[in-house]
């Protein structure tokens, strides 16, 4: 299609101005590549100077993170544990609810119902995360404190649960796409063999949509890891290597916020820590994004055969 147009176009090209416009548009497109390059460059340069002062052993071989104190420790695992804990709680909330919601929208709701329900659920993904943070801190935490003794005012649990609500629409929406894409013939075949609705969903629909659902979960995890305001508001600012959801912790993102709020002069070691933490964050999300990309390609190939 494009080649037919471009051949015609060669004839009517009005040389110079057309070239300038094409060049300017190419620059716009190239800017996105430059953005990626810029992110990697900025993180790499500052991380490199961070590691001139702090050894890999101090960074990866310690579980205490206290770069802002007199007694400095740079054990990244304290922040990674916080991120891991909140993300696991978020997925534990978002995966079952999101998947079941996706099954309802695709398999049970009418076409008209689906057209209303899907955007309604997606509204949840558009709410600014600072609002979720407020909700976690002033609503969910006090409520949970009545049920769970020893739950601190800042904790991983309510931040994680609310984060789960935030990523639920991503999982629900993308899983619904995958489930909806399962050919009707497969369902009808299962019905013809005497399978009930439930058996069809469990044995035919879900396995067929598996890679799409997997990709949606990976994207959900990636969002959870990168989410900042909910954890900065409701999970606390106390980096600690723990998997206890009741106590204050600090995630990688919340640490970056904490330092940014203070007046840390550029060029100091404290300043560089946020880039080193940012680098870790970038690498984690990058790996997950590439994995989900690969899974999605897998679906496309599956659909063609």
């Amino acid at each position: 299609m494009t080649t037919a147009v471009s051949r015609q176009d060669l004839r009517c090209s009005r040389a110079v101005s057309e070239r300038i416009i094409a060049g300017a548009l190419l620059l716009c497109a190239a800017l996105s590549v430059a953005t990626t390059a810029g992110i990697i460059l900025v993180l790499a340069v500052e991380t490199a100077s961070f590691f001139r002062d702090v050894s890999f052993a101090q960074f990866f071989g310690d579980t205490q993170w206290t770069p802002l104190f007199a007694q400095k420790h740079f054990g990244i695992w304290a922040l990674v544990a916080g991120t891991f804990l909140t993300s696991v709680i978020a997925i534990a909330v978002a995966l079952p609810l999101g998947l079941l919601a996706a099954i309802y929208m695709s398999e049970y709701a009418s076409e008209a119902g689906r057209r209303v329900l899907k955007p309604s659920v997606e509204v949840l993904a558009g709410i600014p995360t600072v609002i979720y943070g407020y909700f976690a801190l002033t609503f969910l935490t006090p409520m949970l404190q009545k049920a769970i003794p020893g739950l601190a005012g800042f904790n991983a649990l309510s931040a994680g649960i609310i984060m789960g609500v935030m990523i639920l629409p991503i999982i629900a929406s993308l899983s619904e796409d995958a489930i909806h894409a399962v050919p009707a013939v497969l369902r009808e075949g299962a019905f013809a063999l005497g399978g009930g609705k439930l058996a069809t969903i469990r044995r035919v629909v879900l396995p067929t949509a598996f890679s799409g659902i997997g990709a949606s979960v990976i994207i959900g995890v990636s969002r959870a890891i990168g989410e900042t305001m909910i954890v900065a508001i409701a999970a606390g600012q106390q980096p600690r290597f723990t998997f206890d959801p009741r106590v204050p912790i600090e995630t990688m993102t919340a640490y970056i916020v904490q330092v940014s709020l203070g007046d840390t002069p550029a060029g100091t070691l404290e300043y560089r820590t946020i880039f080193a933490v940012g680098m870790m964050l970038f690498l984690f999300t990058m790996v997950l994004n590439v994995a989900s990309h690969y899974l999605k390609r897998h679906i496309l190939r599956g659909a063609q055969t």
């Binding site: 494009t2 037919a4 015609q8 009517c12 090209s13 009005r14 101005s17 416009i21 094409a22 548009l25 620059l27 996105s32 590549v33 953005t35 990626t36 810029g38 993180l43 500052e46 079952p96 999101g98 919601a101 099954i103 309802y104 398999e107 049970y108 009418s110 076409e111 689906r114 659920v121 509204v123 558009g126 709410i127 600014p128 995360t129 600072v130 609002i131 943070g133 407020y134 002033t138 609503f139 629409p169 909806h180 009707a184 019905f191 009930g196 609705k197 439930l198 990168g226 900042t228 305001m229 993102t253 940014s260 550029a266 946020i274 940012g278 970038f282 999300t285 990058m286 994004n289 990309h293």
Partner: protein, 288 residues
Amino acid sequence: MSQTQGARGDGLAPERAFKAICLLALALPLFLLLVLVGKAFADGWPRLTWDFLSGYPSRNPQLAGILPALAGSMCLMLLTAAIGIPLGVGAAIYLEEYSRPGRLTSLVEVNISNLAGVPSIIYGLLGLELFVRTMQMGRSLLAGAATLALLILPMVIMASREALRTVPQSTREACYALGADRWQTVRRVVLPMSLPGILTGIILSLARAIGETAPLITIGALTYVAFLPNSVNSPFTALPIQIFNWISRPQAGFHVNAAAGIIVLLAIMLLLNGTAIWLRARFQRRFH
């Protein structure tokens, strides 16, 4: 598709129970959304007065207002749009109308989908180093808007490409047949036809930008601003940052302010999303 009900299974108890569980899983988040909005209104509604909207921040929660934050957010949104829209739509036009399938195009495509998955706080780190320090914009509105523009770029590009793709190829060919060159075709025919779709995408991206907090905190937006921004170089605060600042104070009075600020932020989001939905509805009617 969903009409293919398994008639045999409908009477069985587990089938019904499963359907009910699915429905519950869908209803729960929607119910939570209502609780969330209700909670914000219950906490903040009494505080939402004209004095609050037109007031400046204060140590006294009862006197504090959100005017600088509101003005900052509006300026940020306009500047972000001014930077991000031409770049994003330009990139989309290039990818849809000019580029030929090849290495470069697929590199740009993979790159854009990757950028969309980068956490927003990472954009803040980029903005801090690139705009605030290297380009010496300082902690200004311009630096904030440039950062947010890069953040929404993937969204604008993806939405614009989708809109451009809805214009039938035959329309373009008709243009060329009339002697138009490629840019004339794009400017006079393809862009106007896809404009509602592009606008929808732009508005949704701006709605995302206006709710962003983390990248602005990272580039060093202030949390206490007692003046209105007077140029693109002026320091600023934004509505979500003001809300965050109030939430992180221990006094309950500031939490009430935060809730009132949340109502304002929600109203802006509702307005933007409503406009987008209205545009999309119009768009669909015209083509189908």
